[in-house]
Symmetry: C2
Subunit: 174 residues, 2 copies
DNA sequence: ATTGAAACCGTCCCGAG
DNA sequence: CTCGGGACGGTTTCAAT
């Protein structure tokens, strides 16, 4: 087994505590990188690839979860293989923009089986809804018959998505 | 390395035009649901919760991977805990919209450490880039000093994200 | 905080229904 | 396709450093 790399020494002066944000050494960063690529990577392999003992790797992962850096382990499903090859973004404006109207709408949108994600945004649009549907006709009916019937939505713009690409998240950017 | 599994023969010669869409029975759907919530759910527990034997559950999951319904198991990291609490969507128009310009730009955007996701969209905007940054100043500099210096980007609109919410993907929508 | 070793337990292959 | 048994191997705990 290889000797442990030179760990970055803890800075003598700790910065202001940024909430749950903790300092990540290079081992933590490698673990995050690897588990983002494969959440089911056996702990033994993980340990080997980051250069620590299995028990240490186990504790590191637990610590990352406790500190909130890892929020979940999830299986990624392909909406195309699921029979919903068409994706779109629905940008909607809600008026009046009060929480009494926004909150029920948020719950409604998240309750739609077509919804993949919901962005609460600033700007002329208030909501951005990411949906996946079987075809254009389904999208059309979804918008007209289930979304636009809600009177609090005063404007809606549909943007078709050709492709979605995701990146693994790196550590704090420079 | 847990890359894509080896090719496997298509066991049942069912309908040919259903694309990769396979028929999902209720067991498959339950498995997808549970593994989206927790990719590390032990196979034994998974089997118990869907009501089959562990060996059966194992084969179901493998089949779901082979058929492309499950594309990956990933750890989800919290960008806020990572020190990048500010998210934004950058909508950019690229002109001329040729693949000779688009492809390098796509590679560039995906290479940025700030990038979380990239949407290739239809409409007046061509790209939608989801980024996470430490603060507004970082975002400002990212846009001015690294993105807008590229001459093929003729327009850019920034939308701040207050909150992102994701849903687990259900089976084929009715 | 990290480690090695041991006990535990889930995974996974296989033969059968 | 499903199931149970059993060998294998990984996970997890713990005392020590």
């Amino acid at each position: 087994m290889a000797a442990v790399d030179a760990l970055s020494p803890q800075s003598p002066n700790r910065r202001r505590d940024e909430g749950v944000t903790a300092e990540l050494d290079s081992t933590d960063r490698k673990i995050l990188e690897l588990l983002q690529k494969d959440a089911r990577l056996p702990n033994k392999d993980l340990a080997e690839r980051v250069g620590v003992a299995p028990s240490t790797a186990l504790e590191r992962v637990r610590s990352l979860r406790r500190r909130g850096l890892i929020t979940a382990f999830r299986a990624e499903v392909d909406t195309q293989a699921l029979g919903r090859p068409l994706e779109a973004l629905l940008a909607m404006r809600v008026r009046p923009h009060t929480s009494q109207l926004v909150e029920p709408l948020r719950a409604f949108v998240l309750g739609l089986p077509e919804t993949i994600a919901l962005f609460h945004v600033a700007g002329p649009q208030d909501f951005l809804v990411h949906v996946a549907v079987p075809d254009a006709d389904h999208l059309h009916r979804l918008i007209l018959e289930r979304i636009l019937v809600r009177q609090e939505i005063v404007h809606l713009e549909t943007t078709l998505i050709f492709r979605t690409e995701r990146r693994t998240v790196q550590g704090p950017v420079s």
